[in-house]
């Protein structure tokens, strides 16, 4: 069957409108009765003599023909080479006619005349009506003979057929074509009708197919839905308007403990407890009458227990809108309900806790607005919760607002809670609160609010402040103590360290605390045994006058270890009392008592010695006088005795008696001097101001020092070279000789001690230079040694009472201060010292020549 398909290029405009031929494929046979057309064309050919044909465009297929010429049918179209030319000719004329849209007439490639009329259906060229196979003039025999030659025809037969082609007038041919034009037009109209009919049929067909597909889909989805509903994990129930079950899925059946088929023909009342069934029946009625669909949540008592369902109940209507039943799709929300209930309970509990809490609880939004406050909190602020909720902190507690803002900021950054202590000025009173700031988080973990839980710590704070005050007081008391107080725990770690301990060791309390006693107070390191025994025996251990190095000096101290005897406290307190000064005072008192008694004894002894010495001296003098010339009695008595005084003297001389007596005299005088010096030094002689020659006093002191047993034994005073530089014009002065001698003695003794044991610089002979010179209305005395000198630290303290470098028991630390006192206070003089380490020490004493008027001088 030939199919006509519209020219796409020509019908593009139509396509955009309705695409009539593109999808309405139609064959020419459907447009018209081809047999009828043949008859029509045959009768036309018969009456006119023109051949006719209908050719489909653009396939050029011949559909119907009539009156075709033998020459064309038997030769031109039968032989392959010429057939091509025929086809080309038909195409040319068809296209030409299409272009002009009207009948056109041209010669064919083989010289015959032909006409073409386009058949147009809905503006689409679907076929061409051809006519012709005639000549307008007599054809050239040569040309057609050449044709026969060229295409291989039988020349004579061909020319005979050609001869049968009529020669007609062009005008009559064109006239005949107008008839064919009407025919073509009629075919076009028929075609249009056929297309329209075909198109309508096709649309209908398409719609039918679509409906079938849709119905199939609905059936499919219905069955899927049913499958789905049957197997759904949640109960689905359909009830008709009488309350009978129409559909129950497995899940719903399972809740009742049975299978879906058990519901068939049963109603709500058959399967549910009466009350429950009634409730659902009413609900159903309500839904059905009010055509309302909504969710309900309720508790259902089922054989398996109590459940909570959230159900969507919807009416089912028939095509007329009449309610025929209800559908219930349920969700088991038992777990959620339980959780909600628990949450409610927990919230309730929380609310109870918060409401009845005895401590204030508040929530603030991040911008500082009070979201919640419990009754205690509100009461503290002097009101009820509703008085404050929604307000900003600065509106009801201005002094705390800034802190709140600050802390909120910190909390937002750190995202962790914190504790703060505040004194809050509440209406009526000031209170201390310990407040926990806690961030509250929203469901996504974001910060949503700040919770404040406060504890009233006013009492504790007061107690703390009191404790702090007491602690400070105690610390002050301990620090103010003149003694060293060190606390240690059971293991010997320091926990108490007062100011004196700090001064003595140079270690601060902060540095000392927590460290071992021996580390920070080496002088007490070996006292740990005492600490332990004190703790064990629970009795204080005391060590008196222990020699301990404190602040770089050796000191005497009473060390007492007091065990801490309170329960649960293991440790001890060590009290170190520097008793150096007390001991020295004691020693000094003992010394001065000793000196006093020694003085008394010396005085008594001197008297007892002086008497026999006087006897010896006087006797020797008498003897010496009586054995020499000189006294008249001597001569006289010598002669009476039968000799001459000259002989006696000569004898004495020759026998060495005179020099022996002189020697005895000298020894005796020395003995007198020694006793006399001792006496003058130990003698109580206050106020004994007399005119003294300092030369004599200095020399006497040197002599005394040389004869001092202790000085000589310990410091080898004899080896010290004494250089005297006394200026001749040094006047005598009024002074207490004994005391000035005491001063000189002290200085000499210090020098001797300093220079002992090779302490003299650069191996020089130990030397003391004594100088005397007038100095205005004073006399200047210098006592200078070439000893080791003094370090700065020692020099600064040299005149300080009780300061000594000699160690306990050797020096009293009083020599220099007493000397200073004698010079400056008793004699209104001055005393200075120059000392350089390694270059010796020089003491400079200046004494007034005339006795100060304030000093009582004894009447002569």
């Amino acid at each position: 069957m030939a199919i006509i398909e519209g020219d796409k290029s020509a019908s593009s405009e139509l396509e955009s409108r309705d695409a009539p031929l593109a999808d309405a494929m139609i064959c020419i046979a459907e447009i018209l009765d081809l047999e009828y057309l043949r008859k029509l064309l045959e009768s036309f050919s018969h009456s006119t003599g023109y051949a006719t044909a209908l050719v489909i465009y653009p396939e050029q297929e011949l559909v119907v023909d009539a009156g075709l010429r033998e020459v064309c049918d038997k030769y031109h179209r039968a032989f392959p080479q010429s057939k091509k030319l025929c086809a080309l000719s038909r195409k040319q004329v068809a296209e030409l006619s299409l272009k002009s849209r009207e009948p056109c007439v041209i010669g064919c490639q083989l010289g015959l005349m032909q006409g073409a009329i386009p058949v147009v259906v809905e503006d689409a060229h679907v076929a061409t009506l051809l006519t012709g196979q005639v000549f307008f003039e007599k054809p050239s025999l040569e040309r057609y003979a050449a044709h026969a030659e060229r295409f291989g025809y039988d020349r004579d037969a061909y020319l005979a057929s050609l001869n049968a082609v009529p020669v007609v007038a062009e005008t009559s041919f064109r006239r005949a074509m107008t008839f064919l034009y009407d025919i073509a037009d009629m075919i076009g109209k028929l075609g249009w009708n056929a297309v329209q009919a075909k198109r309508a049929a096709r649309t209908l067909e398409k719609e039918m197919a679509e409906r079938r597909r849709a119905e199939e889909k609905i059936r499919e989805s219905e069955s899927k839905l049913r499958l789905f509903l049957e197997g759904a994990g949640f109960p689905v129930v359909y009830l008709d308007n009488k309350g009978k079950f129409e559909f129950v899925n497995r899940s719903a059946a399972a809740y009742v403990g049975t299978a879906p088929d058990q519901f068939t023909g049963k109603s709500l009342f058959d399967l549910l407890p009466q009350e429950q069934a009634q409730k659902y029946w009413e609900l159903m009625q309500d839904r059905m009458t009010r055509h309302r669909g909504e969710y309900i949540e309720d508790e259902v008592w089922l054989p398996g227990g109590t459940y909570w369902f959230r159900s969507s109940v919807q009416t089912i209507n028939d095509a007329q809108g009449k309610v025929v039943g209800v559908q219930a799709i349920c969700m088991d929300i038992t777990d959620r309900k339980m959780a909600e209930q628990k949450l409610r309970e927990s919230e309730e509990r929380y609310r109870l806790i918060v409401d009845h809490a005895i401590t204030p609880i508040e929530y603030f939004s991040l911008d500082g607005r009070l979201q919640f406050i419990n009754s205690v909190g509100a009461k503290n602020l002097g009101g009820k919760p509703e008085d404050f909720i929604g307000k900003f902190a600065h509106e009801f507690i201005p002094q705390a607002a800034e802190g709140l803002t600050e802390r909120t900021k910190i909390l937002i950054e750190s995202r962790t809670g914190a504790w703060y202590e505040d004194e809050v000025d509440l209406p009526g009173e000031k209170k201390w609160f310990l407040t926990n700031y806690q961030p509250m988080r929203g469901p996504n973990g974001e910060l949503s609010a700040i919770q404040l839980i406060s504890i009233d710590i006013t009492d504790r704070k007061k107690a703390e402040l009191e404790l702090e005050r007491l602690r400070n007081l105690l610390a002050n008391v301990i620090d103010s103590m003149p003694s060293i107080l060190v606390g240690v725990d059971g293991s010997g770690r320091v926990n108490q360290w007062n100011r004196q301990a700090q001064i003595a060791t140079g270690v601060s309390a902060d540095q000392a605390r927590g460290r071992m006693l021996g580390e920070v107070f080496p002088a007490l390191a070996d006292r740990m045994g005492k600490v332990r025994s004190a703790v064990t025996s629970r009795t204080a251990e005391k060590e008196e006058k222990a020699v301990i190095q404190l602040g770089g000096e050796y000191r005497l101290a009473d060390v007492t270890v007091y065990p801490l005897i309170s329960n649960g406290v293991d440790g001890a307190v060590i009290l170190v009392e520097d008793v150096t000064e007390r001991v020295r005072v004691e020693e000094m008192m003992i010394q001065s008592e000793k000196m006093l008694s020694l003085g008394g004894m010396a005085a008594g002894m001197a008297h007892e010695i002086f008497n026999p010495l006087s006897g010896v001296l006087q006797s020797l003098e008498v003897v010496l006088k009586r054995v020499k010339e000189g006294l008249p009695q001597n001569r006289q008595i010598a002669e009476e005795s039968g000799t001459k005084i000259e002989a006696v003297e000569s004898y004495m001389e020759k026998r060495g008696v005179l020099s022996l007596i002189d020697s005895a005299l000298e020894s005796s005088r020395r003995a007198v001097k020694i006793v006399d010096n001792t006496l003058s030094f130990s003698r109580k002689s206050e106020g004994q101001f007399e005119l003294h020659d300092l030369r004599v006093l200095l020399d006497n002191t040197v002599e005394l020092a040389a004869s001092d047993y202790e000085l000589d034994k310990n410091y080898d005073f004899q080896r010290i070279e004494i250089v005297r530089e006394y200026r001749a014009d040094t006047p005598e002065i009024w002074c207490d000789g004994a005391k000035i001698q005491q001063v000189f003695f002290n200085l000499l003794k210090n020098s001797a001690q300093a220079m002992a044991d090779g302490h003299v610089s650069r191996g020089e002979t130990p030397r003391v230079t004594l100088r005397l010179m007038p100095d205005g209305d004073m006399v200047r005395v210098e006592i200078e040694d070439n000893g080791p000198g003094m370090k700065d630290a020692v020099r600064k303290r040299a005149f300080e009472p009780f300061f000594t470098t000699k160690g306990p028991g050797i020096g009293t630390g009083l020599g220099l201060p007493i000397s200073y006192f004698i010079v400056t206070d008793n004699h209104r003089g001055t005393m200075a010292m120059e000392s350089t380490p390694g270059a010796g020490t020089k003491f400079i004493i200046r004494l007034p020549i005339k006795a100060d008027m304030r000093i009582r001088t004894p009447a002569p």
Binding site: A603, A606, H607, E608, F610, N611, P612, L613, S614, G615, V616, L617, Q618, S619, E621, V622, K625, R626, L631, Q633, S668, R669, V672, D676, L679, S680, R683, K684, P860
Partner: protein, 122 residues
């Protein structure tokens, strides 16, 4: 010139007596106040040299009593007590520090001079 020495130490008493005798003095000596008073009762002395510390009556008491018995006698004190003080009573009868000599006297001629001066003063 008559000189009386009162001293309980025989070494001093005897040697001083001998010494002074070499200076042409008439010297008596007593070992205590009691003996001295006996001598005073027998004759007059120009000068008495008195030890202060003696057994029995002290030198000070002796001087005060002797002065009443023999006002013309001058007294010199010759003592071994370094801590002596001239009492106001002694001062009242004209005894001055220069009349006090400490034992032992290194230069006895000073004492001789003092005796002569004292003797000449009445």
């Amino acid at each position: 010139m008559k000189v009386l020495i009162i001293d309980d130490d025989p070494g001093i008493r005897v040697s001083l007596r001998e010494y002074l005798r070499d200076f042409d003095m008439e010297v008596s000596s007593a070992k205590n106040a009691e003996e001295a008073f006996q001598l005073l009762a027998e004759q007059k002395y120009d000068v008495a040299i008195v030890d202060l510390r003696m057994r029995g009556e002290s030198g000070r008491e002796f001087i005060l009593k002797a002065h009443r018995l023999s006002p013309a006698t001058r007294f010199l004190i010759y003592t071994g007590s370094a801590d002596h003080r001239l009492s106001d009573e002694l001062r009242s009868i004209g005894i001055r520090p220069e009349h006090v000599f400490l034992k032992p006297q290194m230069d006895l001629e000073l004492l001789v001079n003092a005796i002569r001066t004292a003797a000449a003063s009445h």
